[in-house]
Symmetry: C2
Subunit: 293 residues, 2 copies
């Protein structure tokens, strides 16, 4: 249901797998979700195209028997119930691997199958907040403590792609004779995978203020500039006609720029506000500095 | 270099692959990047642990010969140069697949190997801006046109996980006798994978205003609440002691809530501001409504 599981199995379907999506009576939640085209949800179609769908009431023994009968020909089972639900329903790895010993079974959940948070209900926005991504990725930029409202689905899509990769890796392992596997993907873990910088700074005293990328105002709109490498920075100095930046100790090295990022971007902003966005992007691109409107 | 390629090969190393990372003379950019532990970058370590590293100048024929000599035993080549560079250096898929016919070769780039934007320099922040993620995921929340500064690396990590999954899928295909593959992963494509809702609304007239998740202010701090499913909403109405919401046509169905989301959350905010954050989270969690501080 929802996004993480369906997007993972959409990737499998895109790759050529025959995917059978099992929905509860009445169909899954997303079938009624905006945006609608007539009575049908475009968003549901986006996440589920290429799959076969079947409606089953897993609490009904006859319907559960349909799952069990399918198992000998099933390579992979993917589920994203809250931990504990599959065992209650009789579709846990322990149940289904008895019917197919080399089964690959992937669970996707908010906080993983075990641990103190395992039973907490979780959607992507909750995981973003709980992981610190919402606040830590913007707090320096905003100099305020209030997280920015958003409708990112990063945790869902990252969990889905990690699940897709892990399932394919398990298939490689099985083809080499390694047997089946149980895979435990959590949305929370994938957020920490996106926060390598933060995970590292949390382990040192007095970490440096991180670089934040934000809009630069021009005469007629915003652009974004990312002078990350030495060559990018040299291109920026050429584009803005400030060759003296190349000799300025605050800016002339990677670490210097990292530690004086806002000062440097304030200088860049003085240049940008005198020009149209298109002109800024044209000259920056010509010189080789990454940017866009 | 940087993040997308290194994180993809870190996932391969974590999965048991022997990964040989080829760096230019002097080492790659991230070795000098914050946060540092003494002379060493924690961020570089985070992205590259578990790999063997070798320094080669690919413009030197002797060093290039080292790559070519390795090829018969190499299963996968992963590169994230700007399109065109590998051909100039003699390490393009066409060069290396002559030395190993069933080679799996994955390119990771900003905008893909072909098309009008292929040669534009690109880092994650540029791709976020160009894709519309930065603006479209927050514009309704902020009711302003200025994107929010941030230091998200979503495009890098999403491209890395898509590359990891695609490489593993290609290994499955090869093990089944399908031969080698060339894989073209672009950061931009992975952004659109994260924007399924937006991709769909862009195709219909007068799309509904989307749901945005944001902080709800309590007496002593912010919480986030995601009453997405019917059960979640009923739990919220119980927790806030507003049983009349269950009968309110604006809120009582999935589509009703989607179309009246801000009105509903304004009602929720009236309740939350009378209570401490811990108390809100405790009662919401007890009733079964997803939330966190």
């Amino acid at each position: 249901m929802f996004m993480a599981g369906p997007y993972a199995s959409r990737l499998l379907a895109d790759g050529g797998a025959e995917v059978i999506k099992v929905e509860p009576p009445g169909g899954e939640f997303m079938r009624k979700s905006n945006p609608l085209r007539g009575a049908y949800s475009g968003f549901f179609g986006h996440l589920n195209c290429g799959k076969k769908c079947i409606t089953l009431d897993l609490k009904d023994p006859g319907d559960l028997a349909v799952i069990h009968a399918l198992m000998p020909t099933v390579d992979v089972v993917l589920e994203n119930f809250r931990p504990g639900v599959t065992a209650r329903l009789g579709v846990h790895y322990d149940d289904l691997s008895e019917l197919r010993s080399d089964l690959i079974y992937c669970s996707v959940s908010g906080y993983g199958q075990t641990g103190p948070a395992a039973q907490l209900p979780a959607y992507a926005p909750i995981i973003h907040a709980a992981s610190g991504v919402d606040l830590s990725l913007t707090e320096y930029a905003l100099d305020q403590d209030q997280p920015v409202p958003n409708r990112s689905t990063a945790a869902d899509i990252l969990a889905a792609t990690h699940a897709f990769g892990a399932i394919c890796a398990a298939l490689v392992h099985r083809q080499r004779g390694g047997g089946g596997d149980y895979i435990d993907v959590s949305l929370m873990d994938t957020m920490y995978h996106m926060m390598g910088y933060e995970v590292q700074t949390a382990q040192i005293d007095n970490p440096p203020r991180p670089i934040t990328f934000g809009p630069t105002k021009t005469k007629d709109g915003f652009i974004i500039i990312a002078p990350i490498s030495q060559l990018n920075f040299e291109a920026l100095a050429r584009a803005a006609r400030h060759p003296e930046w190349l000799e300025d100790a605050r800016f002339s090295t990677v670490l210097g720029r990292a530690n004086n990022w806002e000062t440097m971007m304030a200088e860049v902003a003085k240049w940008a506000k005198e020009h149209d966005a298109d002109d800024c992007v044209a000259v920056l691109s010509r010189e080789g500095c990454p940017c866009t409107k």
